[in-house]
Subunit: 255 residues, 2 copies
């Protein structure tokens, strides 16, 4: 039995959803509503003690970390293969995925958290805030949430995040000038990983990401959006608009 | 032809050195002296534009990021295998390696950088500092170096780092209570990755890491230190004492 705990089809959740759809395997979907902090609820912490999405549960074994989950899916459902056969391309796939996990993704998500989550989290009363923070097991993530629920990031931190996003844009465009997909001549897990960040880029940095400045990123995005697995992943439930409405916030900007 | 650019046998350098020694493959060793900032020299940036060690160069292809290098080595030199056959154990290997890369290792290294590198880097003249910083290509790393060469980490940041190290210690002891090695019943790349941090723990946190508090970590460390590959890796050149002496600093504390 294969189960996925995930949020709306963006960021690390869409990464695993695309992989599952590329593999064409059946799974049970469990929606975790991040805007309601369900990832820190005791029921979810029993599944993933780190309190983050996504989590894959396969025959009782919980697999965490989206990049690890996708390698796991390629190990257990090898058809179609989503890792290059050539070991150098495979290493390139992992290097680029790691860069997204460590720098590019977090920088883009700091901007997203600031604009989407800070207005919600900062409305919590001091008691609610303490109570929610005390549920978060990992020190590092607890601090990140304390920042978001408190004063959020400083202008300098946001400027840093923007600069890191632009660095990532430059690297992605350069990669795609060298070969059709991010790791080489074939579509792979690092293209899926890039889709964590890439669809938001033309909106996040319109001056830097467009047909003139980054033609290869735009072509690659088109090719990604044409894939049936990407379309199927994007068609998965997204409760953000209804949750924002229920909380009395305006709808999010279109992606 | 297989070449490794690496520093003394600790941290991410020892991780790849152990893997190469476990595989028993011949390689050319290029020592990069971090205390002389050789990782930011133009000759090295031509090998690895990110300016970090280690870098593996195999038949002209440069592979970076120690965790990726070790998976690459297991891909191209499959004997003896250093990844578990069972996909769940293999995922566990990658989850634990990622935790070390993302949290445990950086937290321990912040403490090491503060005590070892800050005294050296802070002696640079403002011009030398600017000139060296301008060579570092990645924004995130440039900032880390600016911190080290400037005021270093605050007492609060160091306390945070210590707390993260203790969190890692708890997780490692728990893993080793569940199974003999970090990923399961067999030695794997996540044991090698753990050796990035683990040998320093009894010295870094003597109250938390000892025979009484963490018997499994101590037994596992003994087993690691008995491995011929670990001994061979530790016997690789270490220019830290002579470089410190040449720079007029006292020798480092014994590890």
């Amino acid at each position: 039995m294969l189960e996925l705990y995930h949020a709306e089809p963006v960021a690390n959740s869409v990464k695993v959803l695309i992989c599952l759809k590329e593999k064409g395997v059946e799974f049970s979907s469990h929606y975790v509503n991040l805007l309601l902090f369900e990832q820190h609820a005791p029921e979810y912490l029993a599944v993933n003690p780190d309190g983050v999405v996504p989590t894959l549960v396969h025959d009782g074994a919980a697999i965490t970390e989206s990049s690890v989950i996708n390698e796991y899916l390629d190990d257990v459902f090898p058809d179609p293969p989503l890792r290059p056969t050539d070991p150098v391309e495979r290493a390139r796939m992992r290097i680029w995925t790691k860069y997204i996990d460590d720098y590019f993704g977090p920088a883009a998500s700091r901007i997203g958290w600031h604009f989407l989550l800070h207005p919600i989290a900062s409305r919590l009363s001091p008691e609610e805030r303490e109570q929610r923070l005390s549920r978060i097991p990992m020190a590092d993530r607890r601090e990140k949430w304390a920042t978001i629920a408190g004063t959020s990031f400083t202008a300098e931190q946001l400027a840093d995040a923007r600069r890191q996003v632009l660095e990532g844009v430059g690297k992605l465009e350069a990669l795609l000038r060298n070969h059709l997909w991010t790791a080489g001549a074939t579509f792979s897990l690092s293209d899926i990983a890039s889709y964590c960040v890439a669809p938001a880029l033309p909106r996040l940095a319109p001056d830097a990401v467009n047909r003139d400045a980054t033609p290869r990123i735009m072509d690659w995005l088109d090719a990604m959006n044409e894939r049936p697995a990407v379309k199927a992943a994007l068609a998965m439930p997204n409760k953000v608009p209804e949750t924002l409405a229920a909380l009395g916030f305006p709808p999010p900007a279109p992606r």
